[in-house]
C-alpha cells in the first residue's frame, strides 16, 4: 500500500511531461487524457482530476499548451487541449532530464 503511494508521488511529478506526450499525438479533452493514462499504464496509475486540471492550467499559463471548447451538443461541451511549439520543446527537455536522472539512479540504486 505505502509502496504504491510512493510510486504515485514519483509519477505525479511527471504529470506535465505525460500530458505533453499525449497531446503530441493529437488534441484531447481532460477525461480522454486521464483514460489514456490508465490504459497506457495497464491500469497501474490513475490520474486524479485535481492533479490533471492543475497540470493543464500550469501548462496553459506557460503557453506550452492551449485550449478550445468543442461544439458537442449532447452531454455538455468538452474542453480540448492542444500542444504548442513551446510545449514540444519542453517535452524534449523534460524527457532528456528524465533520461539523465534515470541513468544516474540506475547506477546508484
Amino acid at each position: 500500500m505505502s509502496d504504491k503511494k510512493i510510486s504515485a508521488d514519483l509519477l505525479r511529478g511527471h504529470t506535465d511531461t505525460i500530458i505533453l506526450k499525449l497531446l503530441m499525438e493529437g488534441d484531447k479533452y481532460g477525461y480522454e487524457l486521464a483514460k489514456q493514462v490508465t490504459v497506457k499504464s495497464g491500469g497501474e496509475y490513475e490520474l486524479k482530476e485535481a492533479t490533471l486540471y492543475a497540470s493543464q492550467r500550469r501548462l496553459e499559463r506557460e503557453k506550452a499548451i492551449s485550449s478550445y471548447w468543442g461544439d458537442e451538443s449532447q452531454g455538455g461541451r468538452r474542453k480540448y487541449y492542444y500542444i504548442n511549439t513551446k510545449g514540444v520543446e519542453q517535452f524534449h527537455i523534460n524527457k532528456q532530464n528524465w533520461e539523465y536522472a534515470k541513468h544516474i539512479l540506475d547506477e546508484l540504486i
Binding site: 479533452y29 477525461y31 482530476e49 485535481a50 486540471y53 492543475a54 455538455g76 461541451r77
Partner: protein, 238 residues
Amino acid sequence: MSAKLSKYLDVIFSPYEELPQIKELKEELSHDLQEKINDLKKEGHNEDEAFKRATESIGNIEELIEEINDKTRELQQLIGMDFSLSKLEDSDFASTDLSSGKFNYSDLKGSDFQYANLTQCVFKARNLENSKFSYANLTDCKITACNLKKANFDHCILKRTDFGKSSLAGVSFEAMTLDNVNFTYAGLKKTSFRNAILKNVCFKTKAGEAIFDGATMDKGTYALLKGYRADLKNVTIL
C-alpha cells in the same frame, strides 16, 4: 448531466464566487465526470457505484479552485493598481476623517488608518496588505475584493462592514463584536474569531479553516457556518 452530479458539483462550488474561470472549471469537471460515470456503468457498475467511484477519485479539487480564485483576485488588484492615479503605499491616514471616501484601485499596502473614521468608505480591489485599521470606525464601510492579508483590525468598530471577496487570511478578529458583517466569498484561511461576538454575520464562504474557539453567535450565523463546514466545537449560541 444527472441531477445527482449537478447537485454534487453545486455543493463543492457554492463557497466560491462565480468567476468565469471557475465556471469553466465546473463545466469541464461536470463533463469529464459524467463521461467517467457513463463508462463505469458500461463496465457493469450500477448508477450509485459508478457515481461513488467517479467522485471519490477526483482528488483535492478545492485546492485548485482556491488557487484560481486567488490568482484572479491578484490580477484584479494588479489591474487596479495600473489605473490608479496615485500610489498611496505606506500613507498615513491616522486619525483623519475619511468618511464616504472612495479608494478604488489604489495601492495602499501598509497604510495607516488607525483611529480614522472610515464610515461608508468604499475600498475596492485594492492591495491593503499589512495596513493598520486599529480603533478605526468601519461602520457601513465596503472593503471588497481587497488583499487584507496581515492587516490589523484590533478594537475596530465593525457594523454592517462588507468584506465580500476579500482575502483575510491570518487576520485576527479576536474578542471583537461583529454586527451584520458580510464575509461572502471572503478568504478565511486561519482567520481568527476567537472569543468574538458574532451577530447576523454572513459567512457564505469556505469557513472550514477559520477559528471560532470561544466565540458567541446567534442561531442564524451558527446555522450558516455549520453549512459551510466550520469547526464550531467551542462556541456559545445566543
